[in-house]
């Protein structure tokens, strides 16, 4: 029963207190006993608390834990705490838990603000250096691999199917919706000026030069960047990467290269498809909402697009694929810890590669439009 603790206090406060205890100290009774012992402890001002366990008391590990915690509390208040027990079972149980070592823990020195800034900077530089090394290694291996193939043809095709063709449906759907929405937004404005026909130029240029490569890259970062990072991180954590190294197999060549080739090969193709489907979305709006004919749309589209836009789109898609592959690999190889580490690196791969793709896209726009 709560609070029903038959305890006898003997001795005057000041020179210690002896507490006779005849209740069990087990997992089931610990909550009650904890309250009652805590209360008793608070009444003692100085001296000693002497707990005498009756012969009939049963004790388990939770009970020993309770005694340990009471002792900690007593020590914190400069009180002594002693336990006496006659029962052989209790003495036996207490005997397997050794007393805590007397040594004081060495205080952990916390770094000052300058050190913290320095540490952060050093970590960032280290990260950048690793990325640079990874980029140069991968580029070297990838170019040399074109001359002296190291990735089996079959593996390459398998990866192209996994990375490329399985991304088709989602990219198609997203591009169609993006093309449709862009056209709808523009159609209302163009209609006011009677410039309906320019919808073809607008959708064509927007999809080919901008949205096609970007949307494809974002989906690929989410779908393939994450899976590459997770795969590599899992291999790092399971020491598979170390095993490859000790067998003299460069992990980059074995783990990254097939996926890297597949990404670079399939992403331009996916970009072309994404652009085409986006334009199809625009065509739908042009025909149904702006009453344009299909041949008129087509002629205007062909007139409006320049070869320059196509080259730009292909260049972008190859650069984006490189960014996604390298970022995922970088994050994957830096993974530490267990399952949490894999989760962290997967998220980091997606966030970082989307960010870098958008930065690269901005740089491309500057280069192409202003010739900076």
């Amino acid at each position: 029963m709560a609070g029903d603790v038959r305890a006898a206090l003997r001795g005057a406060p000041g020179d210690g207190v002896e507490l006779r205890w005849d209740q069990d100290l087990t997992r089931a009774t610990v909550p009650t006993a904890w309250r009652s012992l805590n209360r008793t402890l608070r009444t003692i001002k100085d001296g000693e608390l002497h707990l005498v366990l009756a012969e009939s008391v049963q004790l388990d590990s939770a009970g020993v834990g309770l005694l340990e915690e009471i002792r900690n509390l007593a020590m914190a208040r400069q009180l002594h705490f002693r336990v006496a027990a006659n029962s052989p079972a209790v003495r036996n149980l207490l005997s397997i838990y050794t007393a805590p070592p007397d040594t004081k823990p060495t205080p952990v020195r916390t770094a000052g603000p300058f050190e913290q800034v320095g540490e952060k900077l050093y970590a960032a530089l280290d990260e950048a250096f690793h990325f640079l090394v990874l980029t140069s290694d991968t580029t070297f291996l990838a170019i040399r691999g074109l001359v002296r193939p190291v990735v089996p043809w079959r593996t390459f095709v398998e990866q192209c199917i996994r990375i490329g063709s399985q991304s088709l449906p989602i990219i198609a759907l997203i591009s169609f919706l993006v093309g449709l929405t862009t056209a709808l937004q523009a159609a209302y404005q163009l209609r006011q000026f009677g410039a309906n026909i320019y919808i073809a130029n607008l959708v064509g240029v927007a999809m080919l030069a901008e949205m096609g490569p970007l949307m494809t890259a974002i989906v690929m970062a989410g779908r393939c960047g994450s899976s590459i990072a997770a795969e590599i991180a899992t291999m790092v954590i399971a020491e598979e990467v170390d095993a490859l190294k000790t067998m003299g197999i460069p992990p980059l060549r074995y783990v990254l290269l097939p996926r890297f080739y597949a990404l670079i090969f399939t992403q331009p193709l996916l970009t072309v498809m994404s652009t085409a489907i986006g334009i199809l979305g625009g065509l739908l709006v042009a025909v149904l909402y702006l009453d344009l004919s299909v041949p008129a749309f087509w002629t205007q589209l062909v007139d409006g697009l320049a070869m320059r836009d196509l080259v730009q789109a292909m260049l972008k898609s190859i650069v984006f694929a490189t960014i996604i592959g390298l970022t995922a690999a970088h994050v994957g190889f830096r993974a530490r810890g267990g399952a949490t580490g894999v989760g962290k690196s997967t998220t980091a791969a997606v966030v970082a590669s989307i960010f870098m793709v958008i930065v690269a896209d901005a740089i491309f726009s500057l280069i192409f439009y202003f010739g900076v």
């Binding site: 029963m1 709560a2 069990d24 087990t26 997992r27 089931a28 009774t29 610990v30 909550p31 009650t32 904890w34 049963q58 004790l59 388990d60 590990s61 939770a62 020993v64 834990g65 309770l66 340990e68 915690e69 900690n72 079972a89 036996n92 149980l93 005997s95 397997i96 838990y97 050794t98 805590p100 070592p101 530490r336 810890g337 267990g338 399952a339 949490t340 580490g341």
Partner: protein, 275 residues
Amino acid sequence: MPQTEPLFSQLTPDDDIVAETRNERIGYPNLTTLEGANLKFKRGEVTCIIGGSGCGKSTLMKALIGLLPPLAGEVRLLGENLYALEEDQRNAVLRRVGVLFQNGALINSLSVAENIMLPMRRHTQMPEAVMLATARLKLRQVGLEHALHMLPEQLSGGMKKRAALARALALDPEVLLCDEPSAGLDPLTGAGLDRLLLDIRRIFKISIIVVTHELNSIRAIADRIVMVAPGRLVFFGPLAEALISNDPDLVSFFGRQATEQTASNSLYHLLTEAP
């Protein structure tokens, strides 16, 4: 107020068997790893399950703790058939059982202390401070008190295993099952672990079932031996009997002088005889 459980189990003839298999066939649908085994694990005894790699030691353990339903026959743990129980009753049995998995199986996102407090949180209403103090005691027992607030990923393989043992012991189980407790530990720590298991057995009168192939450890702790070979039970009996048995598998396992029979079966012999 919750029911007070008996702390030290009373040894009565009826319940002195903590786990048993009756004519059991275990394994996976296309792979039987053990057939027709009638095993009885007694209270207060240390039983070692031995045998070569991949012959079903861990599978037998999984069947005992309710993770792998037997293909035929019956498995009873603490008198109950786990596979026939409702979830609540099943959990009530499982809280009286501690399991140490091969690689520790600590939850990576929780600190070592949180890992050990996990079963206490689930099954008791102990105050937070007492749970933490108990976790610290358990860790001190396995020599890892300094790792209380560390994450599992910061521990070495052997430390993880010891922390996992502390978690298995968190609720003072009546049966403790260990999958290769001393594999990957240095001899001193391994011997310390054996001593700890024996102490726990002596004080709590619990049964310990250990899957192992560490000879020194088996000699130090085993009361009884279960030896399995692919698909069959080789031996079940006291350690002393296993040590003097003439069964070729046992003889070669304990590394005694090979008999004529084992020599003729050995790979070396076959190689030298080959044309």
